[in-house]
């Protein structure tokens, strides 16, 4: 039985303020929980129903765990229909999130706000083998439960760094690609071995103060009349175009 105070502690992690205070976030579903156990993340506690997989139990032998009923899981879940397992995972220290040596092109997000878009971008970038994502400080928090859910476990395999983009870009020497309205067709763009590719906010695109660092503006050609593409779709096409050249 989960005590009232534990329920209220876990529910507090539904909010950013308490995630930051306690340094923990929530991952749900056996598949995602399993992927976090296998990753560099530190899984601190697992709640699972009696019907959980033996595989998860086996993997989590060294992790504190507790069996709960589905109705108890419902009390702590961030989902309308909770899944079979919920884990509390440690938010990495900033020190563990230093930028690695860039391999090929790294993605930069300037102010993505929608958690579903953010999660889908992470899932897609990981599919295409991108190892890290650099985000402006006002980009939606990656440990938001809706972001975590939409990454479908891919968050466990990609490094996310939040930083002041202006200061970051002012020190950068590599070519900077960015999606703008009047850039070169992305189909005809040569991506150099190392570089950065910037995607902007859903409504406003890339901020002017960030645009000025773009050395290679690129555009996804339009064949119909739609005014814009969803940013996760634009990110996917950019990732695909970068990889198809390799």
């Amino acid at each position: 039985m989960l005590s009232k105070s534990r329920i209220s502690f876990i529910k507090s992690l539904h909010q950013k303020k308490f995630r930051n205070e306690h340094g923990l976030f929530i991952v749900e579903g056996i598949k995602s929980v399993t992927e976090f156990i296998r990753s560099d993340y530190e899984v601190q506690f697992i709640f699972h129903t009696p019907h959980t997989s033996p595989n998860l139990l086996n993997l989590s032998r060294n992790i504190k765990a507790e069996e709960v009923s589905l109705s108890e899981l419902e009390k702590i879940s961030t989902l309308t229909s909770p899944k079979d397992a919920l884990a509390l995972v440690k938010i990495p220290d900033d020190g563990e999130r230093q930028l690695s040596e860039q391999d090929s092109v790294s993605l930069i997000l300037d102010g993505i706000q929608d958690p579903g878009n953010m999660g889908t971008i992470i899932r897609t970038a990981e599919w295409f083998g991108f190892k890290q994502l650099i985000c402006s400080l006002d980009t939606v928090e990656v440990y938001n439960p809706k972001v975590v859910q939409a990454t479908m476990g891919s968050l466990s395999r990609i490094k996310i760094l939040y930083t002041d983009l202006e200061s970051f870009l002012s020190k950068n020497q590599a070519p900077v690609y960015g999606t703008l309205l009047n850039g070169r067709s992305i189909y005809k763009t040569d991506f150099l071995a190392k570089g950065l590719l910037i995607l902007g906010n859903e409504g406003n695109g890339i901020r002017p103060e960030i645009q000025k660092y773009i050395t290679h503006p690129v555009t996804i050609p339009r064949f119909g009349e739609a005014e814009s593409l969803n940013v996760a779709i634009a990110a996917a096409i950019c990732c695909s175009e970068i990889r198809r050249r390799e």
Copy 2:
């Protein structure tokens, strides 16, 4: 002032059952409403706040309209934060939705369930100049307010046909592309001038009874470890790959 019975009539259109019964669906936001007025759709009634654009008023001269307060708009809106305008639009008769002569490749959706995915696929397909989408009968209803919203107005410029896919495909002579796990890399696939491209359900992919009609299985190459791509992302990459060859 909106009467209680009108409010309850409009609210009934939030549900599929009553949309079908009355042959009407809801479009919200000045931008989308304007695009529907300019399209082949028949806009039957517009509710707008005092702050609406003169452009919308001008365009809608021949359409019945009523000025309502924001709090009245909130009562009939499908959105948590309603926008500036809400229109009732006529659902086209099946006769008006006959399949056109195929130009290049046509997209087929087999059982897409998530309204956000459906809306994003429509928005993306329209960006890439696709004129029609063929959907299995169990694909989410396109007049669902969440689908309409996610299309960002693009629904007004693309024809959506629901049909029994097995019967449709059994009569088809053109090559049939479909996204499967072990197909040819989409980067290396030549898309013939006319053809069909099938995308499947979020969890289960393309049904086996539909898979058997695929003459050219294609796969989006994976560079990381993610188990799958979101279907709207896969659709976008397919659309982009088809167009980049033209």
